[in-house]
């Protein structure tokens, strides 16, 4: 399969820079540990934040780490889309008889993100083990859907910023705020923030759908109806559709850079 060969190709070329890769991966792990510590220190001061305990909050951190690193590892091409445009790689994709998205996915693999995915899962497991939950089938399904929803929403944000960069050609810093900023918000259950803020990240960018809404369902708390909390991850996934549409429309406006 072509995708498998793309991966093989990337392994061959990035393993030529083994030391660099290990260094980058290690560096990123250190940053993550720092971020986990800061959440821990916050909860040392306050026993609970907006009614959430440390481990419940930690689960949110685990979720966002897992999904964000996962999307970064596999959809890096969208994250670095301005580079694809500037280097003329996009032109190359256009002259191949393969779907453009398939080629963008195949264009980049960030192997250095894999340790972060693993750490994200480890953090999630530590949190889940220490939370007192009455598990049932629905809760397990909602938990799984949360990770899928998170991946879809983050991928949607990548699509958005890639689409915008077609018009602006350069990588604008404000696009980073959209992607990275959303990530850092989701370190905590986002209903701890101001109400209007929470609303934006529920209805505009549906971070809540893989954050405090499914958490409320699992913990059986909060003011939002339980059934709504349960289906929220499914609704959140829909976010990717308008993003995809926007990207595809933007691509039609693509003006290649000069030679």
């Amino acid at each position: 399969m072509l995708y498998k060969n793309y991966i093989k190709m990337h392994m061959k070329s990035s393993f030529q820079y083994r030391f660099n890769m290990m260094f980058v991966a290690f560096n990123q792990l250190l940053i993550m540990v720092g971020e986990i510590l800061s959440v821990y220190l916050l909860f040392l001061q306050f026993e609970s934040v907006a009614g959430w305990t440390f481990y419940e909050s930690l689960l949110m951190l685990g979720v966002i780490y897992t999904v964000y690193s996962f999307v970064e590892a596999f959809a890096r091409g969208y994250d670095e889309f301005p580079k694809l445009v500037q280097s003329g790689e996009l032109d190359r994709f256009m002259i191949r008889p393969v779907n453009i998205h398939y080629q963008i996915f195949g264009s980049r693999f960030e192997f250095t993100k894999f340790p972060r995915i693993i750490l994200g899962i480890v953090v999630s497991v530590i949190a889940l083990v220490n939370m007192s939950v009455d598990w049932n089938v629905w809760k397990v399904l909602v938990l799984i859907a949360t990770y899928i929803c998170g991946s879809f929403v983050i991928f949607g944000l990548f699509l958005l910023s890639a689409g915008i960069s077609i018009y602006t050609v350069e990588n604008l810093e404000f696009l980073n705020i959209v992607t990275n900023g959303s990530k850092e918000l989701a370190f905590y259950p986002i209903n701890i923030y101001a109400k209007w803020f929470t609303r934006i990240f529920t209805f505009v960018i549906p971070i809540a759908c893989f954050n405090y809404l499914p958490l409320s369902f699992i913990m059986e708390t909060g003011s939002v109806p339980m059934w709504l909390c349960g289906v929220s991850p499914l609704l959140g996934m829909l976010f990717v559709l308008p993003c995809l549409l926007f990207f595809n429309l933007s691509l039609r406006h693509y003006k290649s850079t000069g030679t």
Partner: protein, 304 residues
């Protein structure tokens, strides 16, 4: 500068206007014009990379930007300044990936590769990463890579740029060979007029986004090669030199440079008779415009 930051003025620039031409199967067409004339833009439209704001383009029954995936199966593109192959891995790995991308059957792939290997002499390069190859070696591999799927049409955007004389000749021979072997239609842009002279049956001259001339290169050459420059060496110093039908460009004691006037039909015997009546001539040398000069003249004439 600050003003420019706040209220930017936008001006619509038409990269191409009224560009219309047709190319027959199996032709080698040279697409020429000065920098920024719109050559690359045309190539990008024809290869399905760009969608034009208006106008149409049909190649082999397909509109490139509408049926992109079907269309690009039958074309190969080489951008002289941009690599189509993967940088860090051996060339052969890139070829293998192209085999998957174009879904080339293994037998056909082997056969094509063997043919390309022989014609381009690249067998020894395939095991090396692209980044270790010289410019000429890279270009040879690029050419091979763009032909693995045996496209019906090959677009070459400045294929000989920066190459040494030997490689240039090899690339030219190869282009001719492919055109004969598979009757591939080839469209190439270049600034090297020798490419044009050696390869093309037809040229399209473009400037400021418009077509200025299309037809055989010979026509243009004939038109401009009528102008001759004659360097004459006299037996003694003359105060003044003049000759009916000729313009004296330079005169320095025993040496003079003459140019034919537009209406003069140069004929060697006539010239010898005419000049020897007035002056005592030791030697003379006739030259016509070089291909580059012809092109410079053309650009000048169209005020490009």
């Amino acid at each position: 500068m600050l003003k420019n930051f706040f209220c930017r003025k936008y001006k619509t620039i038409e990269a191409l206007k009224d560009v219309s031409f047709s190319i027959e199967e199996g032709e080698i067409v040279g697409y020429i014009g000065p920098n920024g004339a719109g050559k690359s833009t045309t190539i990008k439209i024809m290869s399905g990379i760009l969608t034009p704001t208006s106008g149409t383009c049909v190649i082999d029954g397909l509109v490139p930007w509408q049926n992109r995936k079907t269309f690009v199966k039958n074309i190969g593109v080489v951008f002289g300044q941009r690599s189509q192959l993967w940088w860090d891995v051996p060339v052969m790995d890139s070829f293998e990936l192209l085999k998957d991308i174009y879904k080339i059957p293994t037998d056909q792939f082997k056969e094509t590769l063997e043919l390309l290997n022989k014609a381009l002499n690249i067998e020894d390069l395939l095991g090396r990463p692209l980044r270790q190859l010289s410019l000429g070696q890279k270009m040879k591999c690029e050419l091979a890579g763009s032909l693995l799927h045996r496209p019906k049409i090959l677009f070459l955007d400045e294929p000989t740029i920066g190459l040494d004389a030997v490689t240039k000749l090899a690339v030219r021979d190869f282009i001719k060979f492919i055109n004969k072997e598979w009757s591939t239609t080839i469209i190439l842009t270049t600034h090297d007029m020798n490419d044009i002279e050696a390869l093309t049956n037809k040229i399209i001259l473009i400037g400021k986004g418009r077509i200025l001339y299309q037809g055989s290169f010979e026509n243009i050459k004939d038109k401009y090669s009528a102008e001759k420059t004659i360097e004459v060496e006299f037996a003694k110093d003359y105060q003044k030199v003049s000759l009916a039908g000729y313009k004296v460009v330079e005169h320095n004691q025993r040496f003079a440079t003459l140019k034919t006037l537009p209406k003069t039909q140069f004929h060697t015997t006539d010239f010898v008779n005419q000049i020897s009546k007035k002056y005592e001539v030791v030697d003379f040398q006739v030259s016509s415009l070089s291909v580059d000069e012809i092109l410079a003249k053309l650009y000048n004439e169209y005020e490009l």
